[in-house]
Symmetry: none
Subunit: 220 residues, 4 copies
DNA sequence: TATGAATGAGTGTTCATTCAT
DNA sequence: GATGAATGAACACTCATTCAT
């Protein structure tokens, strides 16, 4: 409720000249409000009040409310740091692969939940926005990273030869999104429930894709 | 200035005396528009125009736009017929169980896609609506039905003893929702892609949960 | 709050055929509501609900809300009985003349207060209505009656020769309206206050218009 | 379709930067329209058109139509200047007292007639408004001022000892309101008629309250 | 540059009225 | 005749946007 601390000590009159800070503050406020109340229910006045500036600034900086939404979206990612995780060394088993993936993804999605809620809610409803969603989501990158990992898993003999890698990767990605986003934000499940489920899912995933011999040796 | 020709075989004048049909038409139109454009972007005027009646009717029948949304929601289900499917005989294998489930669910979700888009999009954004979502979704019922099925699967020896039934059920339900809703309506995947993926997922599911011996005998 | 007992035992379906009773009930309800809430704030639905009939009846009987207002106005008076009072024998003094007049007028205005509030409130604001007010008010008739009385008062020597009769009549009429309408309904004064004031005014009136000699003989 | 020429020297475009003047203009226009057509029949659009601004300004400045009505009410008075009159030196006779009072009050009420019409009309019809009327009317103050004057009149021997001062004051106030407001605005009497009547009333008032001896000496 | 004043297109809703039954 | 269903014009009000300063 308190104005973002990024832009402190605001007084009346024409404000100080720190455009980058102001833009960031607006984006932050808009992200929060869009996520809480939805895009359309969020009024520009609310955003401006939250930040402590005039509505007109939204026009000046972002060209309007739509532009602000785009800026919010673009702000979503430090993709690189997020994706770096997928370049870690292989795990000892497919179940561990899944477990680590799910844990990481759940954490990551939770961190960017507000931002995602906006995106998803709007993509479902505004067809022209669906394209943007595809652009800004990391699904493809994660998919590629997993595929590459699983390739290596197969080479190590950890991953069964009889399962199609791309489907396996897709499968794990979907599980991650479901556990990290759908369960908590649509179904309202608590983190503990989700974590428990993630463990079970990882186990099942392991059973499904692990090479039989490898599996045996591992599980013992 | 000339009376709109957009709504033919409907004179400018007023009266038609079929209230139930009119209500249904309004709900149908609202469902379509809410799904296409979102709740807030859909104006009562659009709905009325689409149906060829006056806006006031929305007030008369449903008490306003909010009431119409509720009516749309309530109209969503012939739950019983949908759930009847889960009372069919067991399949010959767990993979088949999954395959049939996914096929059915994908078809079912596709059929009520517009209705679901509204619900999901709004539940993500309007917290007070999330409760309503929980009420009107069939997740719990399907979950219960699957649990009961898998219980019986285990008794037949088809389902491995070492997997927790509730997690398996949850898993399959999630796959269904993901393939039937997230893939086509959020990610924009085509039906063919989804169907292919469903086959792969069913296969993986089978591998994960099928009792080893049973699995062997089956696969041969 | 209970539906007027004039139209008892109403059930649904096309109602019984007692048009005069129904008209009277509508006029009564409209009078009450117009007076309580004003003409514009009173909705036809309220009137119909109060009476227990359909709104359409207002159209059928009176041609609309305006027509109902006119009917309400026309219903205002059993003029003759009201005016009969002014044909009573002369009083013994001018003060008594005033006292009796004021008492009677206060009572009369109180009885038709709702009806008058509508009239006055609307006449003040709708110029085209001011004419109607002139028509339906009894001011002229009362004025004429008083003038005639005061003529006779003068002949008896009770009324001073040095006052203009028409002004005296006008004066008394105004006092009556002020005490009977303005004080209670605009200023919110209680009946007791008004009665006390009426006595004082009558006394002052007497002092102002009574013939000096007569006054002496009377007061003794 | 062509820009209205009704509001000249005012381009279709927007901006004028004189908020106080704009507020005053809106209040003035609202006063006039409320008085002409009544509060409810006056539409915000009319007011805005009259002033040549947008309807939204009424919301911005006054918070809506209700707020504008309150502003109209509050704008009614430069009370002090109005009440100063009652601090003038005493007249030479009670008749003169009345004559001067009536003349002044008639003028004063005429000046604020539109404003008063709104107030009175609405107070008669909206009970919750009657309280506001009581607050903003000057009746009490004038009454107090007259009472104080008449006290002094009595000390000079001008005012008869046998009349109750408060009733006399009330009486004169009522006459003033009746002549200045009811006669012209409800009965539609012309100024000349009112003036004539005022003279007569003053004369009668004098006869009623003047001390007998003083009266004699004065009239001669 | 940043603002507050001002806008106008558009909102859901109201309500006296009309008409088929 | 009397009704409920249906209307459409109008309403106060909202809000992203524009512009003079």
């Amino acid at each position: 409720m308190t104005p973002a601390t990024t832009v402190p000590n605001r007084r009346s009159g024409p404000r100080r000249r720190d455009r980058p800070a102001m833009e960031a503050a607006l984006i932050e406020a808009a992200t929060a409000l869009f996520a809480e109340r939805g895009y359309e229910s969020t009024k520009t006045r609310m955003i401006a009040e939250r930040v402590g500036c005039s509505e007109a600034l939204i026009q000046n900086y972002f060209g309007g409310k739509d532009g602000l939404l785009l800026a919010v979206m673009r702000s979503g990612g430090e993709w690189e740091t997020y994706l770096a995780f997928f370049r870690r060394p292989l795990c000892a088993s497919m179940e561990e692969e899944a477990a680590e993936h799910l844990t990481y993804v759940i954490k990551g999605l939770t961190a960017r939940a507000p931002y995602l809620r906006i995106l998803v809610s709007r993509a479902l409803v505004d067809p022209s926005f669906q394209a943007s969603y595809g652009e800004y989501t990391l699904r493809k990158q994660v998919l590629a990273a997993l595929t590459e990992r699983f390739d290596r898993c197969r080479q190590t003999g950890m991953l069964s030869d009889s399962v199609p890698i791309s489907a396996v990767a897709e499968w794990l990605v979907d599980m991650g999104f479901h556990l990290g986003f759908i369960h908590p934000h649509l179904l309202g499940h608590k983190p503990a429930q989700v974590t428990g489920l993630a463990r079970d899912f990882a186990r099942l995933f392991g059973r499904a894709v692990q090479h039989d011999d490898y599996q045996t040796s591992k599980e013992k």
